[in-house]
Symmetry: C2
Subunit: 277 residues, 2 copies
């Protein structure tokens, strides 16, 4: 497999991992988001992921292509955050050893053009993002391509843009050199059993460790903090109790999507290290 294929497979394995409390998984759909839409999103992202592995296009343009293909195939936003993590990791793996410092280098090398492409990607999908800092309202990601002139005038790179996204778990991975993705990969590589089961256990462990930023944005910090406690209580629970928690979260519409994004990135790193399905 190529790095782009491993990234596509990582999206699919994360999707299949069950129970992944609060997320669409092999056993659960959300009322407005079905398993097949995630399958389609992973297929549609393929061309952008292959662009990420090449060097002919920037990381931002590859991301824009991946999100555009995902949205066209799925008809909605299924894997925006996961692709934002996977694109620089694929670039890293395709150009040399996949290490945290090299991945940080890929992030550090992003340009203003990458930032512009990132903003254009928002035109393809509805993404839940937080408010920008008060002095950066022009750079609100929800403005999509309309923000590009401000991006160019200020000369901000894609890394700069993500450094502004306070409290966003995916952006934090970019800025900090993907600590969680690599930690999840270590956990998966050291685990036993089928890869999807290892990914499900890694998901629960991450949920118990770091408040999910998508949940915090949609439901508030208190709900995100409570989720950490509930997940921590379930760390040694049997599968049935975790499954009941998963059913409850779907019922409540609480969707820890950032944790899923991080796990997908971790599965990718694990696949790159030779873990197989």
């Amino acid at each position: 497999m190529t790095p782009a294929e491993r990234a596509q497979l990582a999206l699919l394995v994360e999707l299949a991992a069950t129970p992944a409390p609060g997320n669409v998984d092999r056993e659960r759909d959300h009322p407005d988001l079905r398993f097949e839409q995630f399958l389609a999103g992973a297929v549609g992202a393929g061309e952008g992921l292959r662009a990420a592995a090449g060097t002919g296009r920037g990381v931002g343009a590859a991301f824009e292509a991946a999100v555009g293909g995902m949205a066209a195939a799925a008809g909605t936003n299924t894997q925006f955050g996961a692709l934002l993590l996977l694109v620089p990791l694929v670039r890293t793996a395709a150009t040399g050893p996949l290490t945290r410092s090299r991945a940080a280098g890929v992030v550090g090398d992003t340009t203003v053009a990458d930032a512009a492409a990132f903003y254009r990607a928002f035109d393809a999908v509805d993404v839940a993002v937080g408010e920008p800092p008060p002095d950066a309202a022009e750079l609100d990601a929800r403005r999509g391509a309309d923000a590009v002139p401000a991006v160019e005038e200020r000369g901000v790179t894609l890394r700069d843009v993500l450094a502004l996204a306070e409290g966003d778990g995916v952006a934090a991975e970019w800025v900090e050199g993907f600590p969680r993705a690599f930690a999840v990969a270590d956990r998966i590589a050291g685990g036993e059993g089928p890869l999807a089961d290892r990914a499900a256990r890694a998901f629960l462990a991450e949920l118990a460790r770091v408040p999910d930023s998508l949940v915090a944005r949609r439901h508030g910090e208190a709900v995100a903090a409570a989720l950490v406690e509930r997940a921590a209580d379930l760390r040694d629970a049997d599968r049935e109790r975790v499954a009941a928690f998963a059913d409850e979260l779907v019922e409540r519409g609480v969707n820890p999507g950032t944790t899923a994004d991080v796990v997908a990135a971790g599965v990718f790193v694990a696949l790159e290290r030779g873990v197989s399905v």
Copy 2:
């Protein structure tokens, strides 16, 4: 989406369709074949499916690449028969309208080189195939690349080779212009609800209509015929009864894989006609 992407998505939707009695589906694994291996197979087949959509490589070479990629990613044979149906259908869709007569034309245009590539594809995987006719023992597909000199000496095309495969449901589709794939597509296009549910109903209907040739080869004609009757009895049954039948077949190790191949091809044709997930 491109034809190659629709083919990849068709593999994944057929996989997710549940209950698909006797096959790995969203709710069931086989003891020696897991859901994730099919996910990996669909990812690994991507490059070959894209080759099928191009015109730089023959249909046989595209199939060989698809099977090689599938086997490398999945570690086993997951979708050999489905790919044998999808490759000429992708070529047809990528070069003009996807009609039965044009698909038959693609099959009719196959060459000796396509046949040679088909035999080489068997070197990548274990595939259950029937005995060749007595006067064509040299062309036994199980010989893999060793059969290529005989293929070239006899000057047989890939269509000729498949015409020798008496009683094989996938080969029959090739020779007869894909009647079942297009009929399944009609059924799916006329159905309601999520695509994977329509595919599951189409699977049961096909199982009730045509004895599965993989089951016949592995378990005998009587078992294949009994399966048709059981499936026919369940046509108007509720989901629980179909699911119980699915559990029973997995338990017995009866795997109607040819029917799954035909349904995957039908899902592809339906996607090409604008049906969405």
